[in-house]
Symmetry: C2
């Protein structure tokens, strides 16, 4: 019998052989390319259809591009990759499955809504650390127009947005984990539980996800004995302006103040006032491109050295909302350090 | 740097400390309870709504029941469980997320269509073998009426079915992995690649999934050096009568004859002629309940000792089909042995 040797506290594992993030690629739409982080993205599209006949196909093509380009950066072939972990927002994760179809790589499909980037990094890290793989790709995507059509209304309806509404990011981020080189390492994985505080308003996802983010961050602190000051940046996924403030208040009630370290990928990806994005960005692609672009490049330059990435997801569907259900949230955290 | 030590061939890992399947539970609907495997299921529902106001809520309740009852059988509390792996067919896997909401267990959401049972067992086995967990739950579900409404037509439309059509199983199976006791062990995990042979007919999912099943089974043989006769049973997920025959022919062309060992969970769960289920059962719940009920109980009695479980999934959505896309398939295999 093998003894359990990597668990730290109730929800966290400490990786004995921290996998290294040897390459990333971020591709975004035109609107994201006009935002404050534009200089950090690897590719900015002029045409968010990528010449495809549907937004769904465009989203899948974006993910295909992100995976292909990351392979080039890492100087690897697809046959070098042991596993591909991916998920997205579309029904039956078609963006991921159709992108995976183009590669001859064993594929694990995930669904964690907008928590998928840190979910895929968590499982990829665990499979690397366990000695099951030399190289793993973790990726996700979202597309404003495919998400609007599926979750709200087709764009042509010109639906009104509320102050708490968020703008789904058009983008895909891909990450390759390996064992060697001077790269940021994933040291801890804190896996989230589903949290539901009874929020029903599908126009205020930030409020629905905030309790999950808080629960995972606090569990991470308790499990590791760390305090907020250990990190240079604690980056939540897409709580947005309103959800971020709520999370800060909730976490304060639990005895932690993360305001100095806390950024939210959804808040910073757009200039929310000028770009009319209200409470900020959202979507699986949001924390994916902010991590793969902005945060990774700052880690590589050693401008920052220790971050906690906490992608956050709202686990509802149009059907569950129509049936009067509340919106459960989840958040997964990965601790990343550049030596 | 940790050396890669568990990979066998290109798609398979051999588990150094094979996790044991210490408990399972299978719950099925009334129609499944009238089928040939009725004596093997732990619970047969009289009312497939479970008293809930929607089929979606009923499906989630079924999964909740399967998880709760498996915990009881294993004499474990939810706080003993390190991770829950789950997915289902519904958009944004609401059956799984809403069931997970009821438990305080770190949750990884998956989407592998009807391959989800072996996908969840694969990841659960890897996380156990890597020393990250003492106990893990792997589960999935499907419901005939929630699947019909989402993928085809609401039941009230009385839509015609074709000879190649399959009947989505109403059921949920849950499995708990642990490290101790005399139980069947998961020894190898062969992870599937997405395969697409250009099939477009959403009424013939078996044909869409057969190439993926064949690819994974043949990779498993090549990676392990095994031949079909190593196994007492090779159980594909839900190829159905037509897909099973196609898989047998395709695999024969590749130099293997699996007819003696091959059963298909979709073919055997119903009496397809008497129960008018045409090509057989399908859905995530199909291989979940056939494994958790029929196969597990036969393993425990040592009537069979070595099986390869190969759940199969069709990775389409109604949107991808409407947009003229073909149907990619995937299959994941886990080798299970009773000493």
């Amino acid at each position: 019998m093998q003894m359990l040797n990597k668990k730290v506290g109730s929800q966290t594992v400490k990786l004995a052989n921290p996998p290294k993030i040897i390459a990333t690629y971020s591709i975004v739409g035109p609107k994201e390319g006009q935002g404050p982080l534009r200089e950090y993205f690897d590719e900015i599209l002029n045409d968010d259809t990528l010449g495809k006949e549907s937004f769904e196909k465009a989203e899948s093509q974006m993910m295909f591009t992100a995976i292909s380009e990351t392979l080039k950066i890492a100087k690897l072939k697809e046959t070098d990759i042991d596993y591909l972990f991916s998920g997205d927002l579309l029904n039956q994760i078609i963006s991921s499955s159709f992108a995976a179809r183009e590669f001859s790589i064993p594929f694990f499909g995930l669904y964690g809504a907008c928590s998928t980037m840190s979910e895929s990094l968590s499982l990829a890290s665990i499979i690397m650390d366990g000695g099951f793989a030399n190289y793993v790709v973790a990726t996700t995507s979202s597309h404003f127009s495919s998400a609007e059509r599926q979750f709200r209304f087709p764009l042509e309806y010109g639906s009104q947005r509320q102050q708490s509404s968020q703008w789904t990011v058009t983008g895909s981020g891909a990450v390759i984990l390996g064992h060697e080189g001077e790269f940021p390492e994933i040291t801890h994985v804190t896996t989230g539980k589903v949290k539901d505080f009874g929020q029903k308003d599908a126009n205020n996802m930030g409020a629905a996800m905030a309790p999950a983010a808080v629960d995972t961050i606090v569990s991470h602190f308790k499990d590791t004995g760390r305090t907020p000051s250990y990190y240079d940046i604690i980056a939540t996924g897409d709580l947005g302006v309103i959800g971020k403030e709520l999370a800060n208040k909730l976490i304060e009630e639990l005895g932690y103040d993360i305001r100095k370290q806390h950024i939210d990928c959804g808040e910073i990806i757009f200039d929310n006032e000028k770009q009319n994005t209200l409470s900020g960005g959202s979507g699986c692609g949001c924390s994916a491109v902010v991590f793969s672009g902005y945060l990774y490049k700052r880690l590589m330059k050693k401008e920052i050295k220790k971050i906690l990435l906490v992608s956050t997801g709202a686990l509802m569907s149009t059907t569950s909302s129509l049936q009067g259900e509340t919106i459960p949230g989840i958040a997964h955290a990965v601790a990343i350090e550049m030596k």
